[in-house]
């Protein structure tokens, strides 16, 4: 009997999570990335493990009059290489996303051109195609290029050209937690049997508007992002795209595929506090960490690495450190590092790129270090900040968290592919 394509609260499996043992296992079967490290998830992981700092002077825009001029751009050579991989588009972000999706699907062994499966796309972004508008910023007035900046749905144009999408497409823009929102939505769709394959992406294009905004907020680091360092001076915007392919574990096994990691839980919350400042107690973050652990049936001592949001801004890092220490209080201090010291803050792409790093960390049993950390902030004493060299150690469970302007928080919990929840 063919199952009904219709869903609803009643049609989705209510027996889930810790009280719902029937919830199907959702795994990550493929990853793809475009980042300041270049093209490919392997290039990203290599850059992380080689401790390369990928922020530097912005080449795409004239920043000569700005006090802070750094960004984490996708290298110009990699942008040129896009031409051989996907069609052109006025939005670089649209091309980044499509290239990362193709890599992730091929990595998973899922054909990108098939109507035999229900493939849905869940993408997270902060500004979508709006950075197209930045190209008109010159002197004395704005020369407006095209119209794509007003059409966020065109962010998915190229992906739709190169991948046959048969299921839903959903575009999430909740702020800098967007990537984890997309992962969570894709996981829910897989678990509810709405799709067979969920392409979950996060994407961002370096924006002069963002650079101008952080300049006016005095939140840009002049040289380097130093998360959790006592001398941290701010963040540096980045760009790129990360994509995870999510499927049910049994579907991957049935086709002889290999799961890279398991998605153990997702949780979201809001600080409900201030448009630009996290709640001083990190309430939203604490809530999502507890939510993830509850759903997975795990405790704080089970978490081997916290892949922190860690933007390098004065207020945010301190609040995050205290919230993590509070939420994960156990037999040991939580092990924490942020890769934004190397990758900058890729905003809409950040959370998924960090999830990809987490997948690699699970596979390699290596905790990436706080590469740019020189002098840990005493205010962050409640967490175990990983030394810059990284830490070879068993990594069975990784918590990856994201939050941003507006107060939205979204956290995902990842485990080794063969790990059973709870």
């Amino acid at each position: 009997m063919t199952p009904s394509p219709y869903s609803g609260i009643g049609a989705s499996p209510l027996a889930r999570d810790r009280t719902r043992p029937g919830r199907p296992a959702v795994v990550i079967s493929g990853v793809g990335a475009v980042s300041a490290a270049g093209l490919g998830a392997d290039a990203l992981w290599t850059a992380v493990t080689e401790r390369r700092v990928l922020t530097g002077p912005v080449a795409r825009f004239d920043m000569s009059r700005y006090p802070a001029r750094c960004g984490a751009e996708v290298p110009a050579g990699a942008v040129v290489d896009l031409d051989a991989m996907v069609p052109g588009h006025e939005s670089l972000a649209a091309r980044f996303l499509a290239v990362a999706a193709l890599e992730a699907l091929r990595n998973a062994g899922v054909p990108e051109r098939s109507r035999a499966h229900r493939l849905g796309v869940f993408a997270g972004t902060v500004m979508a195609t709006r950075p197209i508008l930045d190209r008109g910023i010159g002197t004395r007035r704005l020369d407006v290029p095209g119209q794509g900046w007003a059409r966020p749905d065109t962010l998915l144009d190229i992906l739709r050209e190169v991948v046959t999408v048969t299921g839903p497409t959903a575009l999430f823009a909740p702020g800098c937690a967007a990537g984890n929102s997309a992962i969570a939505a894709g996981a829910r769709a897989v678990a509810a049997d709405e799709v067979d394959v969920a392409v979950c992406g996060g994407v961002s294009e370096l924006s002069l508007e963002i650079l101008a905004m952080f300049t006016s907020l005095r939140a840009l680091a002049v040289d380097t992002v130093r998360p959790f360092d006592v001398h941290r001076r701010g963040t540096i915007p980045g760009e790129g795209a990360g994509v995870l392919v999510l499927e049910r574990a049994d579907r991957v096994a049935a086709r002889g595929g290999r799961a890279l990691a398991r998605l153990l839980g997702c949780a979201a919350a809001a600080d409900a506090h201030n448009p630009t400042q996290p709640h001083p107690d990190g309430n939203g973050l604490v809530s999502t960490i507890h939510g993830c652990l509850d759903r997975a049936g795990l405790t704080s001592d089970d978490v081997d690495w916290v892949c922190a949001h860690g933007t390098g801004t004065q207020a945010s890092d301190g609040i995050e450190a205290r919230a993590v220490a509070k939420a994960l209080a156990g037999r040991r201090r939580p092990v924490v590092s942020s890769v934004k010291g190397q990758l900058g803050h890729a905003e809409g792409a950040a959370a998924v790129l960090e999830a990809i790093v987490a997948v690699h960390a699970l596979g390699a049993d290596l905790v990436p270090g706080n590469v740019t950390l020189i002098e840990p902030d005493p205010a962050c004493g409640g967490i175990d900040l990983v030394e810059p060299a990284g830490r070879p150690a068993p990594v069975g469970v990784v918590l990856s968290q994201a939050f941003g302007f507006g107060g939205g928080v979204s956290t995902v919990l990842l485990g080794k592919a063969d790990r059973a929840a709870g």
Partner: protein, 406 residues
């Protein structure tokens, strides 16, 4: 057998729409009552090379923030976020000293009122004017002199963030954007969050504002729409009367044969055994729903009486109008183009219509994008308190002798 296995109960509806004061008026618009004509307004973008543009648009909608919402600092909040806040506050649980409409009734100790409240919001216009203003300032001012308030307001999530912060809602906070299906996606994701126990209730809304910057993102031929709508929802309990959001389906249709696939989508969405019925029309007032009036209260559902579709493709909407003789009401043709909020507005219209009609009644809310991305949701009323009146209280809906809205 009930129309859906389980569902979400609609516990509130907030509206800030041009020419529509409340849900009863919205139901009348769906039933064919005309809106005031939208005048032509001129939109400009100073300090840019964008030429002024004339467009049919209603006058800006005053937000009318409910008095229960703290007013401090609202002057700095962008217009679209204010509209969202007003609609959300109106949809949110009624203050204790204000008796709720019968169809919204919940007791203070109702378990669905406890636990985290999620906010999910759809918009493609939120923050765009602020984004563009910051770009203009970056072009015309020295670095560092741009307004520090513009940047944080230049993303899509201003409405959801404002609702969360101002109403103190600490559950999941999500914003969807893109085409018209984004509004229904917000409802679908709310359904999943509630089913997974991540939230006990949710405010799900959509909004749009009009500026010179948003016009290029809208389809030609429609009124450029401004306004907001918000549904308060929570899990439905057994035998609970009211308006329900039921089954949904999301899919990407093959663009090579979109009309035929849309027709198939609507046919498949109807409850089994639903009979032929009249329903809302796109133009003149319909002959009202005889089969609904004949249906026994709380008994077998009357079946789907029509579809409210949000699409910028007029031909597609017209092609759907012939599906099984059931009427199709085209949101954009009547209320205008709300961008990503269109799907949510379609659901809000269906809720208003079902609330005005003798129960049981059922409508489909459908959103279709030119890419083929589509979502469809069943909206129904169930277990009517009387057989002849709708779900609106006497003070909110005038009911004619025949049961039709006047």
């Amino acid at each position: 057998m009930p129309p859906v296995d389980a569902c979400l109960a609609v516990r509130g509806l907030g509206l800030r729409l041009p020419g529509v004061a409340d849900a009863a008026e919205l139901a009348r618009v769906v039933d064919g009552a005309p809106l005031p004509p939208a005048p032509v307004r001129r939109f400009t973008a100073p300090d840019t090379d964008l030429a002024p543009l004339d467009r049919r648009t209603h006058a800006p909608v005053p937000p009318r923030i409910p008095t229960a919402v703290a007013g401090r600092g609202l002057r700095a909040v962008p217009a679209e976020s204010l509209l969202a806040l007003a609609a959300a506050a109106e949809a949110y649980p009624t203050p204790p000293d204000h008796p709720p409409d019968p169809w919204l009734a919940t007791s203070p100790d109702d378990p669905v009122q406890t636990g985290p409240a999620a906010v999910l919001w759809a918009s493609s216009s939120a923050g765009l004017a602020e984004y563009a203003a910051l770009c203009v300032e970056a072009a015309t001012l020295d670095p560092g002199l741009t307004s520090p308030t513009l940047g944080p307001a230049s993303a899509f999530n201003g409405p959801a963030a404002t609702v969360s912060i101002r109403l103190g809602l600490d559950g999941p906070n999500e914003t969807t954007t893109g085409g018209t299906a984004a509004g229904l996606t917000a409802l679908v994701e709310a359904t999943r969050l509630l089913a997974d126990g991540e939230a006990a209730r949710a405010l799900v809304g959509g909004s749009a504002t009009v500026s010179r910057w948003t016009l290029p993102g809208l389809a030609d031929g429609f009124v450029a729409a401004e306004g907001a709508a918000c549904l308060a929802v929570s899990p439905c309990r057994d035998d609970e009367p009211g308006i329900r959001l039921g089954r949904f389906h999301r899919i990407t249709l093959d663009r090579s044969d979109l009309a035929a696939q849309c027709r198939a989508l609507v046919r498949a969405a109807r409850p089994a055994g639903s009979g032929s019925a009249a329903g809302p029309s796109a133009g003149a007032p319909s002959v009202r729903r005889a089969s609904e009036r004949d249906a026994a209260a709380g008994g077998t559902p009357a079946g789907t009486v029509g579809t409210i579709v949000s699409t910028v493709d007029t031909e597609l909407a017209e092609a759907l109008a012939v599906v099984g003789g059931r009427p199709v009401w085209h949101l954009e043709r009547s209320l205008g183009d709300f961008g990503a909020a269109g799907g949510l507005l379609a659901a809000a219209c269906a809720v208003a219509y079902c609330a005005s009609a003798p129960a049981p009644a059922s409508l489909l809310a459908l959103a279709i994008e030119p890419s083929g991305n589509a979502a469809i949701l069943e909206v129904s009323s169930w277990g009517a308190p009387t057989s002849s009146s709708g779900w609106w209280g006497e003070r909110s809906r005038p009911v004619g002798a025949s049961g039709s809205p006047t």
